[in-house]
């Protein structure tokens, strides 16, 4: 497991059955096998309803990769909780429609790319 500058956020959508369980399981396993650091939350909707301060933390910590549902929904869920996402630093993979391997590849590949870019920015 390596320390990284890009944060990965996984939403388990635990309160509904709109994301296929096998996709959620495969994405979690994929992240664990990829040895990347990540944060996993039971349900972003539930956090947004509570205006959980964690959403503000996540939105303000620079580059963020999210495995959840439709990007438009994720964007406005964060906004509804007073935690607008900086669009240029956020990418969302949709587990409702994208296969698990695409989600995992996107999350981890992007992390590697972003870390490389961050290092280059620092002249390292």
């Amino acid at each position: 497991m390596s320390t990284q500058t890009t944060r990965i956020l996984y939403c388990h959508c635990a309160y509904a059955k709109v994301v296929a369980p096998e996709v959620k399981t495969a994405v979690l396993h994929g992240l664990a096998h990829a040895e990347v650091e990540f944060d996993a939350v039971p349900d972003l909707c539930e956090m947004a309803a509570r205006a959980d301060p964690r959403l503000r933390e996540l939105a303000s910590e620079g580059s963020l990769r999210v495995a959840a549902c439709y990007p438009r929904a994720v964007k406005w869920l964060f906004a509804s909780a007073g935690a607008p996402l900086p669009e240029q630093h956020v990418r969302v993979w949709n587990m409702r429609v994208e296969p698990a391997h695409t989600v995992v590849e996107g999350l981890t590949a992007a992390t590697v790319d972003d870390d490389r870019a961050a290092l280059e920015e620092r002249g390292l």
Partner: protein
């Protein structure tokens, strides 16, 4: 791997070489915690796993409130206040700067997307809804056209929902006074509810829980006045 619980609802899994916990086990543990409503952070520091599942809540989030509430896409919202004047459960309100807001999420009726059906701008999402664009899928030109047709409740139900209910209430009163035909009244009500269920995808439980037509009218009028007041603050000639 070590377990740290900085607050009751979060577990930090620290991993690395020699932790004794495989990636598969780590994923399974994370999944089990998430299904108990507990946040999980996987971090890189090494340690020893000490997760005592017996100390964690056994209840799954399914036992709790399903987070079902409208989410407004403000890039599409025109602040027309139709949602505010339509919703009977006070889910919507207006901010100090006269902007429509979702203020009482927990008032929203689970699985009822009706307000999103009446939004002429397709700006209201329910992320856990089955179909797009209400679930947050991209809004296409066809969606706007289709929703606009559905929004035309006048065409759909012979007037807006509340005027339809008002008319039915008046007719029912008139009929009851002449006939007192309870069976026919029940059939009428059922037909009305079936139409609402079909056209707005309102769950039967929500319809069954609706207040009386008189109460609906009173609530609708109050909501309409709130919407009108909010809109007139911006545009004195506005109609809601």
């Amino acid at each position: 791997m070590t377990l740290a619980i900085p607050r009751r609802s979060q577990v930090v899994l620290r991993g690395g070489d020699g932790t004794g916990l495989s990636a598969g086990d780590r994923a399974a543990l994370a999944q089990s915690l998430l299904e108990r409503g507990i946040e999980v952070s996987c971090r890189s520091a090494e340690g020893v796993t000490t997760v005592d599942m017996a100390t964690l809540p056994a209840a799954t989030p399914a036992a709790a409130w399903k987070p079902w509430f409208p989410v407004i896409d403000y890039s599409l919202c025109t602040n027309c206040m139709q949602c505010l004047s339509f919703c009977l459960f006070d889910v919507y309100g207006v901010s100090a700067d006269r902007k429509i807001q979702v203020q009482n999420q927990s008032n929203c009726k689970t699985d009822c997307p009706a307000c999103s059906r009446v939004c002429p701008a397709v700006a209201i999402m329910f992320p856990k809804y089955r179909h797009g664009p209400i679930n947050g899928d991209e809004v296409k030109a066809d969606d706007i056209r289709r929703e606009a047709m559905k929004v035309d409740i006048s065409a759909l139900l012979g007037g807006d929902v509340y005027s339809m209910l008002r008319d039915r209430s008046a007719k029912a009163k008139s009929r009851f006074s002449k006939e007192r035909d309870d069976d026919r009244a029940l059939t009428e009500r059922q037909n009305c509810l079936i139409a609402l269920k079909k056209d707005l995808d309102v769950p039967a439980e929500v319809l069954a829980a609706l207040p009386s037509p008189e109460e609906i009218m009173a609530k609708a009028e109050a909501a309409r006045l709130r919407a009108l007041a909010a809109t007139r603050a911006v545009d004195p000639d506005a109609k809601v």
